[in-house]
Subunit: 362 residues, 2 copies
Amino acid sequence: MRLPTVEDVARTARVSRQTVSNVINTPARVKPATLLRVQAAIRELDYRPNQSARRLRQQKSATIGIRLDPQLNGISGAVLDRFLHSLTEQATERGLRVLLFTAATPTEEIDQIRALRDGADVDAFVLTATFDHDPRPEWLIEQKIPFVTFGRPWGIDDLNDPQHRWVDVDGRRGVYAATLSLLDAGAERVAWIGWPPPTATGDDRRSGWEDAMRERLGLGDAELASLCTEVVDDVAEATNAVANVLAGAVLPDGMVCASDTLALGALIAASTAGRRDIPIIGFDDTPVAAALGISSVEQRLDQVAAGALALLLGPVGDSVVASGALDVAHRLIEPALVLRRPQDLPMFNPSRIDGTAAADKH
Amino acid sequence: MRLPTVEDVARTARVSRQTVSNVINTPARVKPATLLRVQAAIRELDYRPNQSARRLRQQKSATIGIRLDPQLNGISGAVLDRFLHSLTEQATERGLRVLLFTAATPTEEIDQIRALRDGADVDAFVLTATFDHDPRPEWLIEQKIPFVTFGRPWGIDDLNDPQHRWVDVDGRRGVYAATLSLLDAGAERVAWIGWPPPTATGDDRRSGWEDAMRERLGLGDAELASLCTEVVDDVAEATNAVANVLAGAVLPDGMVCASDTLALGALIAASTAGRRDIPIIGFDDTPVAAALGISSVEQRLDQVAAGALALLLGPVGDSVVASGALDVAHRLIEPALVLRRPQDLPMFNPSRIDGTAAADKH
DNA sequence: ACCTAGAATTTGAACGATCAAATTTCTGAC
DNA sequence: GTCAGAAATTTGATCGTTCAAATTCTAGGT
């Protein structure tokens, strides 16, 4: 059977098409009595506006597009997926749809975006994984296509370009807080296990550790360098590297890592070296960290998603994508420190197998 | 500036609207010379059909909907995300879009589906995480909404209902193969570390182990039971449970687990007990397993996604969702056994830290 | 040269909503 | 009771495409 249209509702409620439309879109314009009558008719017929027709007329889709990376990027790969979850949830609440697409290269992504945009499928885009000299933002600005990036623009000047709206997690502050927490607990030689520079996010995170160590302990460059280990993001490599550190002359009494992958490697190395007492803090708060009781810095992706939508729609939450002129074109989200106690895990204290860590489950 | 329409292309190529439409949708109907002329015009104007208009006219959206679970389900949580990746990729190749939505309960999901369907936003749905007495398939069949589930219907009779199209991974066969591989390598007392029944997938997986042990070793129920450990899906709990097993009278010489989470627990327990020689195989081939070198059974999610789309669209790959009457309404995908050598990992051989496991990276 | 079947193309209408402008109804002041 | 102005409602046009039917063109047989 045919689905009901405005026409059907109008006939049932004895009003015109347009009044039905007004009831749905601008109820304030309709006299209360009429409003009720039309709403009753809508319920009676179980009417739902046809979105395609609405979009055709309005030249809007109320849909945001986001690219889903094909790459399966190890332990931390789920971060973008978690972001996607939050984004979808909050977009749905705001009456927006989320459309996925894939692309292998930035160029291909641009093609896809153009196709989706010209086809009137998508109003605005969320970009993830920004990188140095990313061509995408510039192109989008040129085309006047609304967008927001998860990740700040790493090319130098653009940080405050109001045309480039972005949300990011303040990795520096997260690592800063993590380092301070170890120093507060009495540590004096907190090591940094990071990635080989230059990596935009990696360098940013390390600066948090550097700042904390400088401020609290007054360390200089040489001392910092001696506490800093650089290794690619791989468990085995990290294990190897940290094992070397632990076999060296200056033993760290705490380790802050650029990722949970590195933290896991550090944990294995420390455990192997019989130094299960050294506190370790990772980054991303992945399921692995949770499962193993590793402390970590959590990116608050729900806040990132909320910020992204707010920048796209305006903070109020209009259900239509507007080119809202906002005071601030970006948001820097403060991450949360999640402290766990790996030393309570059976892996390290065989004598105390009691399932304590299970309490961490939610 | 206004985007070009069929009208503009028609004028440029000196043909009618409909011919332009034919060039795009049924090129076979157009004389070669005209075809070329129109295609040139399309390129010249950089014309792209407006999807909203097309959808309005055709009453089709070429979009499939899938619900994104809000739950963050531990180490194996990424499985559905990986499926989503594959699905998006292959859907894009077939000219389909993937639209996300969220819902907290099955009832809410049904509401969302209805809204998306009535709004002509989505043609067909992919359901994940089917469960016992799932109300969704029945409702969708009633409403004649095309759908396919990832996960077979666990209510008894429906397995062969041609109206319910489904794709699933043959967990039984995966575990069967895993068990055989250990037996082939000389093991004789392969233990099963699984979840407490009844869990549909868990019981299915265990049956693979049972079958292999029965066939190869002629074991009876009692012997099987003595090799079977049941524990909830948590690393610490699993560690605890497996530690007890290893402290018992009958030592297993191999372990097959219902999940990577359990496998990780088993690995920790074995390591702690000094039994790093016992081979362990998990399930899901999560990033964790890859990072730690744990062998596992991989769900081939690209094949699952391909199967799901094939069932929805017909195997040929028409770009329009058809109610294709297929010979088979379901696909059971055979998983792949991924063998790694955890005994080579530094965690277990401190003397051989050489990064061998890094070779596992792709 | 004529006719015809089929191929190729065009025309008018429709999909279901909203916009912009026109019309009717209501309200309150004089 | 009249009238201006606001409020409420209706009307006609339109968004860009494809469907269905009508028309024109082409090739082949007689």
